[in-house]
């Protein structure tokens, strides 16, 4: 077991910004635990194996990453902290449980750095803990979505960032949200033919968001950059369209795209079929709340009804000593995560009475959070899941891939047994009981039962952990 002043869970933009702030403005000791093989999180994901904490993303992948300068600055701070012996960054550490102990918290962790055959458990105790566990891709089932070659857009992007690998030569992109554009642009630049980007929503929804756009001119520039790339590569971007089916025998060979009417329902007769060898679909992101939910911190619904961690204006949760920053407080991107991580760092330093961040840093952080959160909310409002997303599901369409539960079985639980939420569907059909523990299918189960994501699921174990590692820990505690 190790003890530190501050434990940061997640080395993405929020965790790194928090670490840098604490190092710069206090003498607190910091441990950062991260599941990845190097710092950066999903935004600044590095090719494996990372050459060490100083390794920046190679030049040939630089276009996939926002704001390399910020990443470089944060890494420099973190590196300085390591050199001074004040910060320890541990990669490939999966925190499976975070529990209150005494006047602090204990994170129970599986060390995966030795590979699957050499996993061991460890425990880190701290007075203050930051939950900066990010978010994961949100998928919705459709006929053929379980074919090899059909991925989430985040999955496509991760492949690119991990080594510049394109998932296919002819790729269709679908779903909703601005994230579809950089993924399509990244693929096009690497020689893939992107046969189309099918954005379910229409740009007219953005007309209501003029204020958020005006306050974030940089976001427009970013979007214009991707649009330029897509035009240069002749990638058609079609709005009000949805990929309603993927076809193929051993892997995906084609998709069917349909037009959506004003109510967001696929129009009969509007379908057309396109040959592809890869598909990426994304419906936004779900915050990774497992540790926060188990700790019992207060949550709030975001503007689209997804539960996120509720925090005050310095990222404090409802539990003393627990802070949250980044996507767990509402999906909003790297810049927002950096601003929130900075504020959390300032709060931790002040709350533990071991220093003070400059007032100007806090003021600037709050302004950034306010402005960027406004833009994130605008994205959620302008990119809802269309009402007719499930219209084209077939009885045999698999909803839960781990447990192979069909749409017909889920419908029967809802219509014949009165299941009113995702938990009841799970109990009656096993939807969400498999390897992914509902991280893939839970959102769909929520929408199908109550038309909303529903409350965040409680997962007492937030990462798989070998029983042998637990048994060793039990034996050790007897000594």
């Amino acid at each position: 077991m190790s003890t530190t002043d501050v434990l940061l869970i997640g080395a993405g933009p929020a965790g790194l910004a928090c670490a840098a702030t604490i190092l710069a403005h206090s003498d607190l000791s910091v441990v950062v635990l991260d599941a990845g093989h190097g710092p950066g999180g999903q935004y600044w994901r590095q090719p494996a194996p990372a050459a060490g904490p100083n390794a920046l993303v190679p030049g040939e992948l630089a276009d996939l990453h926002h704001d390399q300068t910020t990443f470089a600055e944060l890494l420099q701070e973190v590196q300085r902290g390591r050199a001074e012996g004040r910060l320890e960054l541990r990669s490939e550490q999966h925190v499976w449980s975070l529990v209150p102990v005494g006047d602090g918290y204990a994170a129970h962790t599986v060390d995966r750095a030795g590979g699957p055959s050499r996993t061991a458990g460890s425990t880190t105790r701290a007075r203050a803990v930051l939950v900066a566990t990010g978010a994961y891709d949100r998928a919705l089932p459709f006929p053929g979505w379980d074919l090899p070659g059909v991925m989430t857009v985040g999955g496509l992007q991760a492949l690119l960032k991990a080594g510049g690998v394109a998932a296919g030569r002819r790729v269709a992109i679908g779903g909703t949200g601005p994230f579809l554009l950089p993924v399509a642009a990244g693929l096009a630049r690497r020689g893939s033919t992107v046969v189309g980007v099918y954005e379910a929503n229409r740009p007219t929804l953005w007309l209501r968001e003029a204020r958020a756009v005006a306050r974030n001119p940089a976001k427009l520039g970013e979007g214009a950059g991707y649009a330029g790339t897509l035009i240069r590569h002749r990638v058609p971007v079609r709005t009000g369209r949805m990929i309603v089916a993927a076809h193929g025998t051993d892997r995906v060979e084609a998709v069917t795209v349909a037009r959506l009417d004003r109510a967001g329902r696929p129009v009969v007769g509007s379908e057309h079929r396109l040959a592809v060898d890869a598909v990426g679909v994304g419906w936004g992101f779900t915050p990774q709340l497992d540790l926060a939910v188990t700790l019992g911190v207060d949550r709030r619904p975001d503007v689209a009804g997804t539960e996120v961690v509720a925090v005050d204006d310095l990222q404090r949760t409802s539990r003393p000593g627990v802070y949250a920053a980044g996507e767990v407080c509402g999906v909003g991107g790297a810049a927002l995560a950096v601003a929130e991580g900075t504020l959390a760092g300032a709060a931790i330093v002040a709350d533990l009475g071991r220093g003070a961040a400059p007032e100007s840093l806090v003021r600037q952080g709050r302004r950034s959070v306010d402005r960027l959160r406004g833009f994130a909310d605008a994205i959620l409002r302008a990119h809802p899941v269309p009402a007719g997303w499930a219209d084209r599901l077939e009885p045999q369409t698999v909803v839960c891939r781990c447990e192979e539960v069909s749409y017909a079985a889920v419908r029967a639980a809802i219509d014949e047994r009165g299941a009113g939420d995702a938990r009841q569907v799970k109990q009656l059909t096993r939807t969400g009981m498999g390897w992914c523990q509902g991280r893939v299918c839970g959102y769909a189960a929520g929408l199908l039962t109550c038309g909303a994501p529903g409350p965040a699921v409680e997962r007492l174990v937030s990462a798989p952990v070998p029983l042998g590692a637990l048994a060793d820990a039990a034996a050790g505690s007897d000594d």
């Binding site: 129970h108 014949e416 047994r417 009113g420 009841q424 109990q427 174990v461």
Partner: protein
């Protein structure tokens, strides 16, 4: 026609609804939550005779086992995943084996099939090779509790029963002579009834107070570990012999004793811990680690298997570890059917038979015979302070 309100749509309430509608009783089932969403959804689905020594509870378990088989024939065994998989209780020491054999001898005298196993590996090839011996209980069974509760309730509804989810039984409606003639919902709505059945499980104590017939039902927390899916490696329900001791224990601290079994989908369930910590929902890492160590001791291959999920529940227990089943003399019209501790799934079908007999007049407190030990009369002298101390 007799009208019954059943408070609680867990496995016991659903089984009572099914049994009562079979006898033409007009049934309304109420619950704050959906069917089977309380403790029913938090257990393994055990239908056991192996863990009970001679007495009223074993007799109820034997009645219940027969009743479950009838329920299985009625609803379809597949639909509720009812399986006669059998249990194997393994001793971990020579002394443990001696006391296990003595326990089994007593059970045999009470009519339980308990077979001494000289070679445990022949029954369970992946057991640790140093297990000295075991007893095989072929009568132990398994059911999927939430499916069973949903199907039982659906069968009752098919016969005319009504389910009112989202309805909180706030208070009893009491006549001038003190008898109960219905319940009042939190909304003010009144449901009239000739009998009100307290099948509120872990919340049965709270409901009993609202009905004016308090019985001491308290929560006993338990965790169950669920692994990743594997090919079938564990064939029976496999317990370590100390499980039997823990079930009846009144020790306040943490008790764990290993129960390992495979499920149809390939996951392996590992229980069972028992703690009296009120309704504390936090995860106890010590419990998880201890259960893991005990499971690995019995089945060494589990060391390499991933834990995917832990679930937690609150068993409803009475201080004497017996369920409370039968009419309450303090509030005529109230029948209790709760406090089954960790055995509620297994005892549900038999409990429903008793409740049905009490409602239809086949059984009364004076003719209860061997079931008299389960009557609420044993708590009639309890005052509120004593209950709180308990």
């Amino acid at each position: 026609m007799t009208r019954a309100v059943i408070v609680g749509a867990g496995i016991v309430g659903a089984a009572c609804a099914e049994a009562l509608t079979r006898h033409g009783v007009d049934v309304v089932v109420v619950d704050r939550n959906p069917v089977g969403s309380g403790t029913t959804s938090r257990g393994e689905g055990n239908i056991l005779v192996s863990d009970k020594g001679p007495g009223a509870e074993l007799a109820l378990a034997q009645l219940s086992r027969r009743a479950w088989l009838e329920v299985g024939d009625l609803l379809g065994r597949e639909r509720i995943e009812l399986e006669e998989k059998g249990g194997v209780v393994v001793a971990r020491t020579g002394a443990g084996l001696d006391s296990l054999h003595a326990f089994a001898e007593g059970q045999r005298a009470a009519g339980v099939t308990a077979l001494d196993v000289a070679d445990p590996l022949a029954l369970e090839p992946h057991l640790a090779p140093d297990i000295p011996g075991a007893v095989h209980y072929p009568e132990d069974m398994q059911v999927q509790p939430v499916l069973a509760a949903a199907e039982l309730l659906a069968a009752a509804v098919d016969r005319g029963a009504t389910f009112r989810g989202g309805l909180d039984a706030h208070a009893a409606v009491t006549d001038s002579d003190g008898s109960v003639s219905g319940i009042r919902a939190a909304s003010g709505e009144v449901l009239e009834a000739d009998v009100v059945i307290n099948a509120a499980g872990t919340w049965g104590g709270e409901v009993s107070e609202r009905l004016g017939a308090p019985v001491p039902v308290l929560p006993r927390r338990g965790f169950i570990l669920v692994t990743e899916p594997l090919p079938p490696l564990v064939r029976h329900k496999v317990y370590s012999a100390d499980y039997v001791d823990n079930v009846g224990s009144s020790d306040a601290g943490l008790e764990t004793s290993c129960v390992v079994e495979g499920t149809r989908r390939g996951t392996i369930l590992i229980g069972a811990s028992r703690e009296r910590v009120g309704f504390d929902t936090s995860l106890s890492v010590t419990v998880v680690e201890t259960l893991a160590r005990q499971a690995v001791t019995i089945f060494p291959f589990l060391a390499r298997v991933n834990l995917l999920r832990v679930y937690r529940g609150f068993r409803p227990y009475c201080p004497d570890h017996l369920p409370v089943i039968g009419p309450d003399p303090r509030a005529p019209g109230v029948i209790h059917a709760c406090g089954h501790e960790g055995a509620g799934i297994g005892l549900a079908a038999g409990t429903a038979r008793l409740v049905s007999d009490y409602v239809t007049g086949g059984l009364t407190a004076t003719t209860a015979g061997e079931w008299a030990a389960l009557l609420p009369d044993r708590f009639a002298g309890l005052n509120k302070e004593a209950r709180q101390q308990a």
